[in-house]
């Protein structure tokens, strides 16, 4: 028979409570001391310099070359505006950035090669954006479905179960025929959870709205994303060379 110590005999309940309480208190204290408050990230634009934009004026009714701010509505602006008839602000907040808004793509074609039933064909393009100010967005769209010279088409993907032009879905099955894209890298939409997630391109010929593939609310240099195109066809797909145009438009935040 095991023998009990004097402490256990004196107060067994208190002993257990103390043993349990100490680790709890220790963990709670560490959490309270160590956890730092969450700070919202400040949007920096550290490369500004002040410069008015480059503009010229011409007017048939111009009576003065002076101009003013568009502020103080009904007050100062009215005085200046009545004499000039125009006012222009160029750049972000009158500020000209040391680096311009730029956009590049690594390739002007996405060659999917020879498609064969039962397997995926893929190709990739890299998009790179440098944006001053408060960010940018890049939208994508297709001019039509992948179409052959004989007007046969490869449908836009609906992924394994479902996906739309704004919500990516898993696409692993080669029996889910179609054409779609995945995007990974900087500033990409959150629904592209991984490399198996795809969306169809919005079809502009059917009135689709361009889809955002990169977006940011902060200035940034060389923000890069890779667009991976993917296609799968059925055994009954008509032979031929299929093509469409993928349009990417980079736009600054105003």
């Amino acid at each position: 028979m095991p023998t009990k110590t004097r402490r256990e005999i004196l107060d067994p309940g208190r002993e257990k409570l103390g043993t349990l309480l100490l680790p709890v208190l220790l963990v709670s204290s560490i959490y309270l001391l160590a956890s730092r408050p969450a700070h919202a990230q400040s949007m920096r634009s550290s490369d500004y310099t002040i410069r008015l934009g480059n503009f010229n004026m011409t007017s048939g009714l111009k009576s003065s070359t002076s101009y003013s701010l568009t502020d103080t509505v009904g007050q100062i602006v009215a005085d200046y505006f009545s004499s000039t008839g125009y006012h222009v602000k160029a750049g972000f907040q009158y500020l000209y950035t040391l680096y311009p808004f730029s956009f590049s793509v690594s390739s002007l074609t996405a060659d999917l090669g020879a498609l064969s039933p039962g397997s995926f064909s893929t190709a990739a393009t890299t998009l790179t954006v440098t944006a001053p100010g408060q960010g940018y967005s890049v939208t994508a769209m297709e001019s039509s479905k992948l179409t052959s010279a004989n007007s046969n088409t490869i449908p836009d993907t609906i992924c394994d179960t479902s996906c739309t032009t704004t919500t990516a879905g898993v696409w692993n099955s080669t029996s889910a025929y179609g054409f779609g894209y995945n995007v990974s890298g900087s500033d990409v939409p959150a629904d592209f959870v991984g490399s198996t997630y795809f969306r169809p391109f919005p079809d502009i010929s059917l009135g689709g709205t361009p889809a955002t593939v990169m977006t940011s609310t902060a200035a940034g240099k060389n923000r890069t994303a890779t667009v991976t195109y993917k296609a799968a066809i059925s055994g009954t797909q008509a032979e031929g060379s299929y093509s469409t145009q993928i349009v990417y438009i980079a736009t600054p935040v105003y």
């Binding site: 125009y86 311009p100 808004f101 956009f103 390739s107 105003y254």
Partner: protein, 324 residues
Amino acid sequence: MKKTLNAAVITCLTLLISPLVPRAHAQSIGLSISPPTVEILLSPNKKVIQTFQLTNQGENTEIVPEIHAVVPSDSAGHVVVDPAPLSPTKIPLIISCDHTLGTPFSIAGGATVPVTLSVEGASSDTVTDTYFALVLKVVPSTPSQTHTLSPTLPAISTLVFVTLTQTGTLPINLEIGNFDPPLVQDSWGVLTITPTIKNTAPVMIRPKGTYTILSPQGKTILSLPFFPNLILKTSERIILGEKMADDGKTPEAISLSWSPHWYDVGPYRLHLAVTTEGGTKVTEIEKVVWLLPIRATIFTALLALSAMTLLIYFKKRQISSTHP
């Protein structure tokens, strides 16, 4: 022996010629444009000429200039560019470009070319805004018909916002929205709010304003000017604060955040006031947040509990050692 010699000669010739054969490679394109945005206040029958600088950072290519309508897509300043070129009959402006719209022009790799837009206001008595993008699109290469492929057409855009007004007197109608601070805030945490300004007027505006926090004693704890973001007609924009960067000259946009002291307690008043650029007050709103030292209290209680537990523990050990 002769065969070996022939093979060696052919190999050498191949090696010599190979650098002269052009290598097949995917064409890459890089475009930049400046300025990225332009605001124009224009009178009917007046004309403004704006020059943009387009730089081709890639290889030689052809560019098509197009005008597309844009609409704001969120409260962070993003827009959606209409996929179809803008019909000139739908806007009260006459827009022309020194490079014919819709017609490609060449630009050499590394070159910068001016692209000049002319915007003329039509005869109109009503105040109206027109927003569009000058889209500079790379001409697609002719698709080879041997493979399934998709030509990619990169395009860069610059935004042009025009207010057409006869007098320059513009209507203002601004509302503060989404101003929902918590009723109770832990004084150990950071209080961040994301209110918006909604512009219900038919013209854009770049309002100013101040975010002020007042203590229970009425003392100003924080006074942060708004970053003067542009708000397009019938749209809203998240209010951001403005502070100077470390260089002391560059303004930067920051979120409306405040870190109180852990000992700050009581009702604090959060005040938002929106003004025109000239300082005329447009609207204001105030809400009260109770700061309570929640974490500090829990921490203190836990500390006291720990001390008590340890005290009891050591006291018991003392008792057990004195009574073997």
